[in-house]
Amino acid sequence: MLANYGFANDAESASRGKGMPVMRIVPTKVPCEASVMEDIEAGVDGALNDIITALTKPLTAEEKSPKPKEPEKPARIIFKGSLEEVNRFFYQRGWTDGLPIIPPTEEAVAEMLTGTDLPPDHLLGKLQSRLGKATVEKIAINAVMAGALPTYLPVLIAGTINLLESEPGFMGYTTFGFSTGSWAPFWIINGPIRNQINVNNGSGAFSPGNIANAAIGRAMGLIIKNIGGVRKGIEDMGVMGNPMKYTMVIAENEEDSPWEPLHVEHGYKKEESTISLGFPQTYLQHWPYGGDAQGILRSVVDNMPRSMRYTVVFTPPHAKNLAREGYTKEKIKKYIAENKLVDMARMRPPAGIGAPLPGAPPGPMPKPGDKIPQISDYRFIRIIVGGGPGAFIAHLVGGGATPGKKEIQKIELPKNWDKLVARYKNVVPNHAKY
């Protein structure tokens, strides 16, 4: 198997995951996504002898019949120490996101588990890439580490199901959880639970400072890391990385929206709660050309980068202005898809080497100036309402599900939900006046 040097560990992990731990991998210096023939030729020439050796050198006994791997059963209680020692131990195991964690003691995990009626050993599924067993207890442990409250556990269980049931192949978690594109899980929470657990959908919704927004996204990142076993630079091959991987969570402002909320668009009842998943790569904000529908929508079209899936967040006043001029969510999506045109010639690699870029139409090279829609299906766009006073519009642009495939999961609540909400509802910041 030929792999770029930087992908050798990833290739080994992927081979091992498919039951072939002894695959012969030949690292090459062919640059990733290379389209310059001199680079490709130099990379292959440097590896040619190793390629021939890999094809002809007789197999070792281990290569013929690798030793079976023992089941991986980490001790339930893994360490004993002070706050500092626990943090150092977890960090050195690669189990944190680099920030300090709350030690997941028996007591803290038991309190977290009050957030569900499911037993701790209930298995939701096996999470890629190492097919780690996503039990309720493991989710709760990672939730404690992230600083989550027990009222977030139903959200985290639903979020984990969203990952487990994400569509296989190119448009799901198995790509966007790992890819060089540094796609970040982005969670949108809808329904009554938003307010019960204080998920910010208003001023600075994407900024730090709200425990629900911070801890839910952080816990999901730890679940991916510690249950899925996704290690940076080995399975997670994000080239640049993405600060949104710390957390990217918002609630939709359903109360101030003129439109049906996201979960209702997906067929859920307004009184049900859900968590939706997307994988943006980029977060950008811009000002509209004007507060009327044309001023808002033309600015959205002009600022939309090229990618595969799009979420646009409008403030309540912009949403109301759009609705007043007759724009539904669907009509906005269609407007954007019809009006965002790109130059076809730019969709091809300049030297004609390799595959066309995603979205490029088949056929002969286009003439300069030929235009095509950037977004081939208006259903690739999601519209939600959120954000505080002011006139900025937010885009979360990247990857996500094929329309109709898994991207949203209902949140199931425990029987004692009202008592639980009452217990934690007042955990909110109360800023001092000065």
Binding site: G17, T105, T174
Partner: protein, 105 residues
């Protein structure tokens, strides 16, 4: 760094259990590439095809009697054996003596 405290906690492991994946060995190697049919397996990443074309070119020069056969997995993130093309792939494998696959980006 946090202050040291006298409190000592026993903590639970966040690392999930995992069942072992049954392992298997790799296919027997050929003694020499001369006269052999070499499979070139590529994904849809931009560099895969030109890289394997250079490999083919270099090996043809070194082993003029070697022949080559290509297989293309357009869905790079899905193992070919999990796709509907599994049968086509397995038939292709039967017709080659060795395979070089391009992996990653």
């Amino acid at each position: 760094m946090a202050n040291k405290t006298d409190n000592v906690d026993e903590v639970l492991s966040p690392w999930a259990e995992a069942d072992p994946i049954p392992s298997r060995g790799i296919s027997a190697r050929v003694n020499d590439l001369a006269g052999k049919k070499i499979g070139l397996y590529r994904n849809g990443k931009r560099a895969a095809e030109p890289t394997l074309k250079v490999v083919e070119d270099r090996l043809k020069k070194k082993y003029p009697t070697a022949t080559f056969s290509w297989f293309f997995n357009a869905r790079a993130n899905e193992a070919i054996v999990d796709q509907e093309a599994k049968g086509e792939f397995e038939n292709w494998l039967k017709g080659v003596d060795a395979v070089i696959a391009a992996y990653g980006d």
